[in-house]
Symmetry: D2
Subunit: 325 residues, 4 copies
């Protein structure tokens, strides 16, 4: 069974583009306490905003106090308005340099606290309108920046989280294919994919196939964000409330390809209690992982070899409702 | 438990716009035998193409021989190329009159064999390009035709199957709302909705909510087509291979609103054996209906009253994995 | 040529679920000045948040000073967190009553300032998860509330703005069909549709067809919001930067059906200057309306009668590039 | 101005999964005559089905008679039912070997007639259901087959046409990113992308950005299919009837990156006359290319450098309606 982490802010409160405060905000200490109260969690992932970078000692104290590990540190390239038109891909040298500097400071802190992974989610690196970007120049700037960060500290794995869109209407790092393509060209070993289940679904990717592709092209799957959605938008819902069977296939392929990192809960419970919504996802992850463990290697190999929808259907029904027929 | 029917052709073979023959075709007699071999089926639904209209005696003989009932008869307003630009909505009086005449002949045959429902799927009634239709005139022609058919024989229920698109890029009867709206204006009692689960999903409708709306606006849910898809297209897959939880909610609302018609399996098993694919769907319908029967009225009323994603999530997990926690 | 209004906040700054401040906020006075500086605008539409309700005198002063008219007043049923799980459809009597009271206060202010339209955008009236709502009860509550508001002041038109989703994953007032259906049942004359071009596109509606449907079913088109998007999400972009030909058909049908209200610019220019982005939309509306005026009634009647994609294509090309061939 | 080709069958008639014959079929000779009657066409592209492979002499005679060039030859890996579960990716050695043999015969014929490009559209290489494929094994088989074909004749460029889905619910060669990734690993120079404008739109790709990516990663854009759609499905409509501005950006990037191959019209005019629909697309390509030529390098460089939606919007309006303001 894979272990769970959570983005710390997820146990707190949310806002969206209409409503600035669905619920009251929590202090850092409260957030840690709320996370720690969920016994199924092993770790937290931290978005290192400017504010968080100024509380490094407090963070270390809270980690020690709660006994929580750190799944990864994320560089803030999306909430800081300076990056609203791009971070590593920015054609404004000053902005781009600051994003590199910010990332390096996060890498340093990761090393300091023994966290092996730093995550980049280039949510603002893209474009909204056509006739608004030199696609080649900006993609190249991003790739060059990524290379520089990988070389900065070879002990830290830099993972990149792709997403088709939002907050930009189009992201540069949009699909598993385009992300692995950039990594293939850079060719460094400490570069990996942070696969967000919901982002895969949003891009009409089968999550299990995305896992397989990461394996094939450099064994680059290093981090996983987990949540659920209705496929057409990154709804960031409680895990398992929409998809069921696809999760079972996903967990099977994670095992088959040897993934052993965290499953990081990453959701936006606008109208739910954040702590309870995270706890729910952890419960779902338990039952879904257990159900996936019913998959017998010999049996599934036989099913996959058939390449027949009827055989697949029968197998899925057995996995889910085995005892009912 | 609701009973199952199947579109007779579903146990046969398919074609698409690229490949004319994924498998060899079957004779009418073979199709009936294949359907009859699936013990969980109670009935067949028949698309009354020109060819079928010429085999009425053979059809009656096969029904008698196999003991299968008839769920509904569908008027062929989509495979006959004369209707390629519309049937009841056609601005070509000759075409429109023929569609009315064709439908009346099907209504007559329905009465003759004791089938209470005639289905219209106005798949060709719509448009592909903008600047290609007078939306008001054509919608009105469709509504007028529908009224005429309802009045033609008040003992037969005319059900209309809506769908967002395909084969036209845009259909007039596109969503549950626009379909009920037209019916509300016509105001006749023997007019009903044929709800296709996959069409609801394609239109970003929650199937259970579509059921509720049919109840609210005239109690018009009279027939159900069933299959599965990935939401963005009418993939017409084996039931239950994509959606799980949404089916449970759907069956709950069918029960709550008193639906007691057929669940008509309606799929396109291009690369699977048609008979086996239908049999699979019947198996899924059994387990999904059984799982939905675990829903306790008191308990769900309490859950729905909470209007809280966490409570809903917990309830869904219990429904599906009750024994595992 | 139709006149333009703008949601006052549009000339200001935006936030989204990741970044709280893409640009510095503006005062009410500054917003009015910025709007007034765009000469092509005739009016503003105002979202009557709690804060705005407390500045009624200031609003009246600004209107007088700038000479701007008011297109409509919108009730705040989406930014106030009390309505996060629904306003008129809320099963919490206290919340629902407050939403009615809030709406009535806005209606009173509309009458006071001579604004003929009050808009409801029930963005929070819907659900995120399945198994989380009693669809019939909540839809009925909404309809009852709407009726009460229409009866409260028969001189004010209540317009309802439908949208497939967001901020909820599913809205009750989702499509033009379901909205007109509810209105058909309520049957009051001072009830109308506020059609948002982008919401129509998001729901795979052809905007021109939505206009035609509003005409057919009660002549209910009373207000229009305008913006652009990539069809899969309500991107709220500058008008005309994505769609071109569909706007021409839209303006043609607006004229044909006798719409004479405002075109209210409603966009989210996260990374652009709000004032300039609104000014851009006004410029596009001018050129698109002028291009649509090239449509000759005799000629288009002939084209539509053909129901032929080739004829439609030729006509569209002529409209757009007439002088180039 | 780029030259136009057309898939020969496009000037004929179509069928879909409901209707086998929207119009009467044409003979090979008639198809060539119809294509030749469209003066704006320079070439035809030919799908080398079994039937066509048996008419090589007739094809050569028709080419000579009409003076049409050949844009590319496409291997039939999608209409022949033997490939219904995959061609080069097939786990059935017999099927896979036949697909390689078929492709080599097409390569031989291409060399014989002096056609520089052979196209593979792996439409059946993918899967419909989850739990139905070993993604790694099948993707590897496809890549190995592709490599074998490239090495078979280094004078012929093998282009691969990607598409998100259809006829399978999921294709292996799904996006520009995953296609370039496979090519990057294979690393052979006579391997290229056949970019279908509609497939890019279907996958939420900006076509111009896909062109840019092909340039960056191996300069692999070697062939272009052209048509239009509503983004959510491969509607294969007449060029320019949906998208306008995106075509202008697309043509600009084609010029900027030095593309000098054909624009191959590839559409499914179910209800239109095929010849006339192709002729329409050629007319649109003329006006759209001319409009794109208005783009001044200095001016656009300045606009792109701004990275500002307002500047982009203004520029697009100028391109389209320059003379109207």
């Amino acid at each position: 069974m894979l272990k769970y982490s959570v983005f710390l802010g997820n146990v707190g409160s949310c806002f969206d583009r209409y409503c600035t405060e669905y619920a009251k905000p929590f202090s850092l200490c409260e957030l840690f306490e709320r996370a720690a109260s969920i016994k199924k969690l092993d770790a937290v992932d931290l978005v290192m905003t400017w504010d968080m970078m100024n509380q490094k000692d407090e963070i270390k104290a809270q980690l020690k106090k709660t006994g929580l590990n750190v799944g990864s540190l994320a560089v803030d390239t999306f909430a800081n308005p300076i990056y609203q038109k791009g971070s590593l891909s920015s054609t404004d040298a000053k902005v781009r340099n600051q994003s590199l500097a910010d990332a390096k400071r996060v890498i340093d802190f990761a090393e300091e606290i023994g966290c092996p992974i730093v995550t980049l989610w280039p949510g603002q690196d893209g474009y909204d309108y056509i006739f608004a970007a030199d696609y080649i120049k900006e993609r190249q700037l991003f790739a060059d920046g990524l290379k520089e960060l990988c070389k900065y500290n070879e002990n830290i794995i830099i993972t990149v989280e792709y997403k088709l869109k939002e907050p930009r209407t189009h992201s540069y790092l949009s699909t598993v294919g385009s992300t692995l393509l950039m990594m293939e060209k850079i060719g460094l070993p400490n570069l990996g994919v942070a696969l967000d289940y919901g982002h895969a679904a949003l891009g009409y990717e089968t999550a299990a196939e995305a896992v397989a592709m990461c394996k094939m092209y450099g064994d680059r799957l290093k981090h996983i964000h987990i949540n659920d959605n209705y496929r057409l938008w990154d709804d960031d819902m409680i895990v398992g409330t929409v998809h069921t069977l696809e999760y079972l296939e996903f967990f099977y392929w994670l095992k088959k390809t040897g993934y052993n990192g965290y499953l990081v809960i990453d959701q936006f419970p606008y109208r739910e209690d954040g702590r309870d919504a995270v706890s729910e996802s952890a419960e779902w992850l338990d039952v879904l992982q257990k159900a996936a463990e019913r998959i017998n290697e010999e049996e599934i190999t036989e099913v996959l070899a058939k390449r027949d929808g009827v055989a697949s259907s029968r197998y899925m029904r057995k996995l889910l409702f085995g005892g009912m027929e």
